[in-house]
Symmetry: C2
Subunit: 343 residues, 2 copies
């Protein structure tokens, strides 16, 4: 009889990196869907940096995962049993079932996805939350104009690669910041960024000098996925009326319980009349169709490229997650949990 | 024969408060206007916090005053001789003649002001740069909506008093932060703010608790004239989608040469999807008429009140300026230099 393998939060990483013992692999009975619910079997699990934040008790926009609870996460799943007229077995859906093989969820809130229109895994990346983040944050908050210089950190990440490519489509000059020569080569050679900076082993002053050399007229849009020293280096180079999108803070995730301190850029913000704004993709759920239409067309037309880094098997999720936080993946990090039953 | 008394920058205050010996009172010949220029006699000199910034060599939006140069400043002056068809002797104008009794300036760039429509000194305050700053920064960047909570620091200052009163006109709940019981009473009793917080002797945590008690649903618009601990206290209380206007940084003016360090609020900005934006009034010069029409009507209708703190004689400008930076004035700080010749 099949069981539900699932991974729970065993311990909170407090002011330190995540380690494998922070997670526990458990077996549980396969849940039974109530009326209005469906039983889902996970096909792909998305691993995303924001999950580090949810392992912490620090106050943020969402509730933390509790000790002993299944780790949260977006998945593409197959409906294996349905107690709701909206879905039939075999349907594939986007849901938030977390790090487990099976889940029973209310049908309401699940989004049908079409494996014929695009690979199912894409709905967790370029056609999903990271893609939508890059799309709306860049276009709505960044408001990039042709000829402007766009700087994006974590450039080879799931969000960063989308941001840079859309900025190129909008006629901008794009500089990516990434860790290591492979990622820098990926964003310039494969994705068409104009330049890339390898941040490894460099402090804010050194990074600032590299940005200044590549963007002598300053940075018009800074898409901040990381915070920390890279943020400082970007702030040293903002152009008049720069837009700074605060989208992530990977660099400070290991100190979530501590107030981040360091250089404050109020005088720069004032003198440059810069705008700094926070972005959360959930606010844009009502505009998902708009994003899907554009991004699907760009993918079909070969205008946007997309790369995944797929790890096999739910049990390896902790290892893959820790690797991703350390920047070891190249492309969107996914866990392949199972194949659709029809395949 | 009359001479031109003027006050020059003698020494830069580097990481310390301004002191009287940073200035030098000099005598110079009265300048002779060239073709296209007018000779101006200063009636009122405005003293404003931004002047502290211009005494520093630290990079900002404008060139610093050089050692030996006349201190910069806005004035209302009388035309005493004109080599330009636009002006005749007796005209009163707004100009940037600085801390001196006479100046010869190109007619272009001077703005005629009407002493019958409003007291001449008002064009340096509620009808001038500080009023225009409060008006456009609050309305354009702050975008206050009825029922929202607006928090303004340096609330009794030339900008702050305008901000709070306009916010009240727009139907907001307004909390002012000011130094001392007199100023707090002024903004609540005379200007109609809903509440005031005396920041003296309190750290960011204590200030945050007072803000939280007065704004249990958070601060929707924070108008930041000061930076430092008050900024931190405000950031601890921002509501979802708060707008933070970075307009001044009086609290850190004595450390202009040092990078301001302290708590960084990236995670708050992200979680609250807050927007932080710098404001410089010069950008709004083309929209001056719009401001003047509204503000003049509000003053005439008794909807906006305005208070000045006038010091007699140019020689006392350094003392008045140092007092203003320490918050000793109540109302817009002016120097009355001379009366119009007709009066």
């Amino acid at each position: 009889m099949p069981v539900n393998h699932r991974i729970t939060l065993a311990e909170r990483p407090v002011n330190r990196p995540v380690q494998p013992t922070d997670f526990r692999l458990e077996e549980a009975p396969i849940p039974v869907p109530a009326t209005g619910e469906v039983l889902l079997r996970t096909l792909y699990l998305s691993l995303d940096p924001y999950m580090r934040g949810r392992m912490s008790e620090a106050k943020s926009y969402a509730q933390p995962v509790q000790i002993g609870e299944v780790m949260i996460g977006e998945t593409v799943s197959e409906v294996v049993a349905s107690n709701d007229p909206t879905f039939v077995p075999g349907d594939t859906v986007l849901g938030r079932t977390g790090w487990q093989e099976y889940a029973a969820l209310p049908a309401k809130g699940l989004i049908k996805v079409d494996g014929k229109a695009a690979p199912l895994s894409y709905y967790l990346g370029v056609l999903g939350m990271p893609g939508m983040t890059g799309y709306f944050a860049l276009l709505d908050i960044g408001q990039p104009k042709p000829g402007e210089t766009v700087l994006v950190s974590a450039a080879a990440g799931a969000v960063g690669q989308v941001v840079g490519q859309i900025a190129k489509l909008k006629g901008c000059r794009v500089i990516g910041i990434a860790g290591g020569a492979d990622k820098c080569a990926y964003v310039t050679k494969d994705l068409g960024f104009d330049a890339a900076i390898d941040y490894r082993g460099k402090d804010a002053t050194a990074l600032s000098a590299e940005i200044a050399a590549l963007a002598p007229n300053g940075v018009d849009v800074y898409f901040d996925n990381v915070g920390g020293a890279i943020h400082d280096a970007a702030m040293m180079n903002v152009a008049l009326r720069a837009r700074i999108i605060i989208c992530g803070a990977v660099a400070i995730y290991d100190k979530l319980e501590t107030q981040d301190t360091g250089a404050r850029w109020m005088r720069t913000i004032l003198a440059k009349r810069a705008r700094m704004e926070g972005f959360l993709v959930f606010d844009y759920d009502p505009r998902r169709a708009e994003f899907l239409a554009d991004m699907s067309a760009w993918l079909r037309g070969g205008l946007v490229h997309y790369r995944e880094d797929v790890t096999e098997g739910l049990a390896r999720a902790p290892e893959a997650f820790i690797g991703m936080l350390a920047g070891k993946n190249l492309g969107k990090q996914l866990i392949h949990v199972a194949d659709p039953s029809g395949s």
